[in-house]
């Protein structure tokens, strides 16, 4: 557990999928190894551990998502085992609210013998679903990419890479990759695509607007999807989105469902830490130059993420299909229980 927290703090994870996978495995271990008698106790344990993990790295939303998802799974399994149907338990209809008596609210304290096994099974199912998400997304590639199209992408996203490679099996198209300074991940993506025989061009960030008029679609991956349908994507994505909307080029965002978060975009009082991660200025300006006497009062920022407002996004493709950004908030209720919104 401590090692996990340390890794979180030092950002030793390689992408959101990796982090999500490790988090949920950790939670599964927690469920199977800790002692608990009923569901409420288990949920409290998970909430406590979850809070610790979230505060270790508040800018990684995936951790919070996994914790809430597990809590939702526990609730569902509990209800299912009790024999009630899922729909009626969850629906808070107006009628129910008027006629219900206060103490009928179930507080999940009935000890159930099979709860442990069913919960672990459900979590395993969820893990399998996650592992298959990339495959599910790329299976939809053929419908979205047509022959002789010019596709623009930014940075290096594993989902986008798999998506394009899948489409390349049947169609012939051209990809323009934006290199994405200061880390230049675009170079790796371009090499990888070219090795599969896809015609690739690498351009600098400054050339995006100029090239956009010749582009048919923009396909990008994202770090997280916010509750309002906005994106928390790699820095430079907002620039791409604005250029695309100016030229009326559709922007397609690929992301698995575990990336969908409950949180909205907030920039209260310049509070940077929870949304953006300001990394070392070394990426932008070397310490040799940046640490000299003349530059003592100059502040050098290297933000990792960008916020893209939902108006600029045309379509979300996730493992359960395509959705409009304005619909994303509805999917939240399927993933997370309202009582878990605030841990």
């Amino acid at each position: 557990m401590e090692q996990f927290l340390l890794d979180l703090k030092q950002e030793q994870f390689n992408g959101s999928y990796d982090l999500a996978y490790k988090t949920i495995n950790h939670l599964r271990k927690l469920i199977s190894q800790t002692r608990w008698t009923h569901a409420q106790e288990l949920m409290n344990t998970i909430k406590k551990e979850g809070k610790r993990m979230i505060t270790a790295q508040p800018s990684e939303y995936v951790v919070g998502n996994m914790v809430r998802r597990v809590l939702k799974i526990i609730r569902e399994e509990y209800v299912r085992l009790l024999g009630e149907s899922e729909e009626s338990a969850n629906k808070e209809s107006l009628h129910k609210m008027l006629t219900a008596e206060g103490n009928e609210r179930d507080d999940h304290t009935k000890p159930l013998k099979e709860l442990k096994t069913t919960v672990i099974e459900a979590v395993n199912e969820y893990i399998d679903e996650m592992e298959a998400s990339i495959h599910n997304i790329s299976a939809q590639a053929i419908e979205h990419i047509h022959s002789n199209e010019v596709i623009l992408t930014l940075g290096k996203s594993r989902t986008v890479e798999a998506f394009l490679k899948q489409a390349a099996k049947k169609r012939k198209f051209h990809v323009i990759v934006v290199e994405g300074s200061p880390l230049y991940h675009g170079h790796e993506l371009a090499k990888s695509l070219a090795s599969k025989g896809i015609e690739t061009t690498v351009i600098t960030d400054t050339a995006i607007f100029a090239i956009m008029s010749r582009v048919n679609k923009v396909i990008i991956g994202t770090h997280s999807v916010l509750a309002n349908g906005g994106l928390k994507a790699v820095n430079g994505a907002h620039m791409v989105a604005l250029a695309a909307s100016h030229h009326a080029v559709p922007l397609i965002v690929l992301g698995a469902m575990f990336k969908l978060c409950l949180l909205h975009y907030s920039d209260i009082g310049g509070s940077e830490a929870t949304f953006n991660r300001l990394a070392s200025p070394q990426e932008v300006l070397d310490y040799y130059d940046g640490g000299t006497e003349e530059l003592v009062n100059v502040q050098i920022y290297s933000p990792t993420f960008d916020y893209v407002p939902p108006e600029l996004v045309t379509l979300f493709i996730s493992n359960i299909g395509g959705n409009a950004p304005s619909y994303m908030y509805r999917l939240l209720s399927e993933l997370y229980h309202p009582d878990d919104h605030v841990l």
Partner: protein, 563 residues
């Protein structure tokens, strides 16, 4: 303080695998320009590296006096090596060592510091076969704190996030995970439990600790304030480091200082830059602490047992303290409610030729023609600045004078001296004119120094020196313009020296007789006084020399008559 990845470990491991004994350790060095903030004179190194194998061939640490380094020639002699001489590296203090290193330290008990070890290993490299490698780390941050200045630099770097991910809002572990630092714009780190008063501003690279209360209308810039502090209204804090539990009264100004745990600063105090207030000191109301003051609870003039100041007595003995105090607190310096002693600035007898205590702590920074923090300490470190600020001419003059002095004492032949002076001339890129002037001036200066006690002996000494150096002077005064330069510099020296004035005639006569100076030159000089003046003016000089000139003119006429 570093955020290095230990990938650099891998080449070191490979090296060890190939050759069990030779690779001893790897130094991690970081490149930074000589004018970089993080370099202080205490940690100034010049390194010779072999690029093909990353070995350290020579390592030199500059001490405060010298600014020259000698690289031995044998490092350049290996045909396979590509040698680089570098002055832009700092030693980060991170060394990847093999298990043999502790043994070396025990074997050689006079290795007091890391620097001794490096020097020892490099010198003994041939016998023991130990090699030191270097890794220049440029893509990550690494630095160390060894004096106040580097503490300041490294703190500023951490707040500017150069050490990401080791930054305050991620790394500092709080007892309850709900209380954490928030990162705000302009690199501000405010703890969730701190309180800021109305109209208070925290600007630019600051950190405010847990439970700290800051009053109204304060202004805090570039500072670090610890946990549990109370800062009252109208304070201005700039560039300072304030530790835990400090209380600062209203209307105080604190500039670029260190304030340690539990200090109490009353109202109206102005703490100027470079001050250090040690633990639990009190500084009274309405006091101005001079720049560079160090205030400590125990006085330096007390007798120390085992050299350790007895701070603990304050806590244990409480009411008996007044009996044990040797001196009362200095109210004039520390105010009515002051508690503590000001450490003397000049520890001349104890520390010998070192500069004052404060300079030792802060480190002297290089001044490259711009105002810096240590401007208030200029007078004390003028000596230190000279070697850096001197230009070539002065150094050359000094060298020539030394050579000439040595020449007289050791009775060296003039030819060798000419060689010496010529090589200095090339080294400092001096013109022939400079050489002539310098030689003349040096000879006169040497004579002056010799006759410091007895002015009447001046000419005798001077004549002795000149006699010894006639061949040297002949060598340098071969053509008319050099001779002119010689006379003018003679005159220049004489303008300020009475002894020289008096015997100027004899000097000129001597030089004329020995064919160092010719008549035309002397006459030309006489008729063209330059616009110099010292204690005397050229007119005075010409008066004194008048007789000589007349004699010369007659002699010339005689000569020309004979021809």
């Amino acid at each position: 303080m570093s955020n290095l990845h230990f990938k650099l470990y891998a080449p070191y491991r490979n090296r060890r695998e190939k050759d069990k004994n030779a690779p001893l350790m790897t130094l991690v060095l970081r490149s930074s320009s000589p004018a970089h903030r993080s370099r202080t004179p205490e940690d100034n190194i010049a390194v010779a590296l072999d690029l093909s194998s990353n070995r350290v061939l020579h390592y030199h640490r500059f001490n405060k006096a010298s600014s020259k380094v000698n690289f031995p020639l044998n490092i350049l002699q290996d045909p396979k090596s590509r040698v680089e001489l570098r002055y832009d590296l700092t030693d980060t203090g991170i060394w990847v060592c093999s298990p043999q290193v502790p043994q070396l330290f025990t074997d050689n008990f006079d290795y007091q510091t890391q620097y001794d070890l490096i020097k020892g290993v490099l010198i003994n490299e041939e016998f023991l076969g130990n090699q030191i490698h270097a890794h220049v780390a440029n893509s990550r941050y690494c630095s160390r704190v060894y004096n106040f200045h580097s503490y300041d630099v490294v703190s500023h770097d951490i707040l500017s996030r150069w050490t990401h991910p080791f930054v305050p809002e991620i790394t500092i572990d709080e007892p309850s995970f709900l209380e954490n630092y928030s990162l705000l714009r302009h690199n501000l780190y405010l703890h969730n439990t701190c309180t800021l008063g109305k109209n208070s501003q925290v600007l630019d690279c600051s950190l405010i600790g847990r439970g700290t209360k800051i009053g109204n209308r304060c202004k805090i810039t570039n500072s670090v304030i610890g946990n549990g502090c109370t800062i009252e209204d109208d304070c201005v804090i700039d560039g300072s480091y304030i530790w835990d539990g400090v209380k600062i009264g209203c209307q105080s100004t604190i500039t670029k200082s260190f304030i340690c745990d539990s200090v109490q600063v009353y109202s109206g105090v102005m703490v100027n830059q470079g001050c250090v207030l040690c633990d639990s000191v009190h500084v009274g109301p309405k006091i101005d602490l001079e720049s560079g003051t160090v205030v400590h609870l125990s006085s330096t003039t007390d007798d120390f047992d085992d050299g350790e100041p007895e701070l603990s007595t304050d806590f244990y003995l409480g009411p008996y303290l007044h009996v044990l105090q040797i001196k009362p607190y200095d109210i004039a310096q520390l105010g009515d409610q002051g508690k503590g002693y000001v450490w003397e600035k000049d520890n001349g007898s104890e520390t010998g030729s070192d500069a004052s205590l404060v300079l030792q702590m802060w480190g002297i920074m290089f001044i490259y023609g711009s105002e810096s923090e240590t401007s208030s300490m200029d007078s004390a470190d003028e000596d230190e600045q000279d070697p850096i600020m001197d230009d070539d001419l002065t150094t050359f003059q000094r060298e020539v004078k030394e050579s000439l002095c040595g020449g007289i004492e050791e009775n060296i032949q003039s030819d060798n001296l000419v060689l010496e002076i010529n090589s200095s001339k090339y080294a400092y890129n001096m013109s022939v004119k400079d050489v002539v002037q310098t030689v003349t001036k040096s000879l006169l200066e040497i004579a002056t120094e010799k006759t410091a006690n007895d002015p009447t002996q001046y000419f005798t000494n001077l004549k002795m020196i000149l006699t010894h150096y006639v061949p040297l002077l002949l060598n340098y005064n071969k053509n008319g313009s050099s001779q002119l330069d010689c006379i003018y510099s003679l005159e220049g020296f004489a303008l300020n020296s009475e002894a020289t004035m008096n015997c100027l005639v004899k000097v000129l006569m001597f030089l004329y007789e020995n064919d160092v100076l010719s008549e035309e030159v002397i006459l030309h000089w006489n008729s063209n006084p330059r616009d110099n003046s010292g204690t005397f003016s050229p007119a005075n000089v010409r008066e004194k020399v008048k007789k000589f000139i007349e004699w010369l003119e007659e002699a010339e006429e005689e000569d020309s008559e004979e021809d």
